[in-house]
Amino acid sequence: MLRYVIRRFLLALLTLITVSALAFFMTWLSGDPALAIAGDTASAEDIAAVRDHYGLDRPIVAQYFSWAGRALRGDFGVSYHFDLPVSEMLATRLPVTMTLGAASILFALALAIPLGVLAAVYNNTIIDRAALTIAVLGQAIPTFWFALMMMILFGITLRWLPISGGGSWAHYVMPTIALGYFATPVLMRLTRAGMLEALESDYIRTARAYGLPIRSILFRHALRNALIPVVALAAVQFGFMLGGSIVIETVFSLPGIGWLGYDAILRGDLPVVQAILLVVAGFYVILTFLADLLNAALDPRMRSAG
């Protein structure tokens, strides 16, 4: 197990280094940053001054190392457009996206686990098929279109919920449903598959043979085992959501890092784009690392395979 953990950790570290390099060089490919900072109307002297001020005349590899070193300490530079430290901008925007992501994944789990359990317990009945239909529809609805349809219904026709901004909990309801519903199908399918497997396993048969109450068998034994991979997948999904909430945040004008990222790309605000890329990738790498450890701890084959 320890060997597996160490190897997996090194892989996560290598991945992060690669992503940081990609983030750095990708934004460099997009053109001369000095020109982007100085603006279209800047004179040649202005551009030269900017280049000097931001250290843009040094070798690119040296620039990468100093950038990565500062990023490790939480310093992502200064936004070209707002002239504010990027870390400050992230600090105000990140909680919004985290709240949205956490609420969405909880919504997805709250929907997926009961449906998955029902579908497994009533395997091949109308309940199973109904749960599957919900999953199939969820996978086919484009998130942003679903969001707009909700806006028309709940925001405009019924006037129950606000359609833009992020001031109160009510602003999160529709974005949460839109983002969470999309993650529900896979979680439901995994719960169903895990429950089916657990219900057919020897230890559940033994428990049944001993005459344990069915409720206790389902919830204390079968569900507990079926849920671990579901939780692991939910962690990964949460990582996807932090990067995938761009469209939803933009549609609802929810001031998280997704909307910030979209705005920054529109304006060519490189330091902001780099920082978001790095933060989202960092979260994802950490979450998948933890999810893999969780799955490995569960699976004896993986432990010995190292």
Binding site: L11, A12, L14, T15, L16, T18, V19, L22, M26, T27, L29, S30, G31, V136, L137, Q139, A140, I141, P142, T143, F144, W145, L148, M149, M151, I152, I156, V186, L190, L233, L242, G243, G244, I246, V247, T250, G258, G261, Y262, I265, L266, G268, V273, I276, L277, V280, A281, Y284, V285, T288
Partner: protein, 295 residues
């Protein structure tokens, strides 16, 4: 004993076909997909109007279920008076072209990487695992937006970006399937008989990964189509005035208060196409009984 005569039963292909047609949701998915494909191919013959022809005297005409609709424009017209039905029909071309071409590219990349990792194992496997992990940790949508912002938005760029990014599931699934096949007796026999790696990969491995490959292809095709629509919706996809459902939704947004049908119509078309692709994929998975795709 009378049953001893060698039974000339239906061929495996025919059995599979029969099972597929018996699978109702699969049959439904394939039919819708087929109709949409035909619609896309024969768009110039079917579309009642030129999808690019504007008519400023005929702007924002409502569709047929409204009282003041006009029979020449069954689904109404958009904000510059273009026939909505014609744009919808032509829009299927963009979605399907992006779905098919992006998946061909990503499927090629993912299959090569996944099969190589599963077959050779060891260092090759380690490198591919690292590539998959790195690709997955990049927030796809943000990167796609950034790349399109850099290179300009066009159909080709969108296809390339999606094709170069959506290979991860192909690699994951092909890797695990190939690993299973590699230890089968017929592969060992081929190796013992002195067959080269290339020959084994081509003759023994590839024919046996076809079914899970198709299942992943449907999932990723749906994915590519959603992503194009989302990118176009945000103005980073294909260029106007190309009729794309994502662009139609984008244009419709400013009228969502008074003319919500502008959003409903292309959204339903997109939803129907994605549903058809997913039903086809789910059906394939059921019928072939393989391809445990996890997303």
């Amino acid at each position: 004993m009378a049953d001893q005569t060698p039974a000339v039963g239906p061929s495996p292909g025919r059995i599979a076909l029969r099972r597929m047609l018996a699978h109702r949701s699969f049959a439904l998915g394939v039919s819708v997909l087929l109709v949409m494909t035909l619609m896309a191919i024969f768009a110039p013959l079917i579309a009642p109007h030129d999808p690019y022809a504007t008519d400023l005297t005929q702007r924002l005409l409502p569709p047929f279920w409204h009282d003041d609709s006009v029979p020449e424009h069954i689904l109404g017209t958009d904000k510059v008076g273009r026939d909505y039905l014609s744009r919808l029909i032509y829009g299927a071309r963009v979605s399907l072209a992006i779905g098919v071409l992006a998946v061909l590219l990503s499927g090629l990349i993912g299959t090569v990487l996944g099969v190589a990792a599963g077959y050779f194992g060891g260092k090759v496997d380690a490198v591919v695992t690292y590539l998959i992990g790195t690709r997955l940790s990049l927030p796809l949508f943000l990167v796609a937006l950034a790349v399109v912002a850099m290179f300009g938005s066009s159909l080709t760029i969108v296809i390339l970006v999606l094709g170069l990014f959506l290979w991860d599931q192909f690699a994951v699934v092909m890797r695990s399937v190939t690993k299973q096949i590699r230890s089968q007796d017929y592969v060992r026999a081929a190796r013992a008989a002195g067959a080269s790696h290339m020959r084994i990969l081509w003759r023994e491995i590839l024919p046996n990964v076809r079914e899970p490959l198709l299942v992943v292809a449907t999932v990723e095709m749906a994915n590519a189509i959603i992503l194009e629509a989302s990118l176009s919706f945000l103005g980073f996809g294909v260029q106007a005035p190309l009729p794309s459902w994502g662009l139609m939704l984008s244009d419709a947004r400013e009228f969502m208060f008074f003319d919500p049908w502008l959003l409903t119509i292309p959204g339903c078309a997109l939803f129907a196409l994605l549903l058809a692709i997913n039903l086809t994929g789910d059906g394939l998975r059921d019928v072939t009984g393989r391809g445990g795709v996890l997303r």
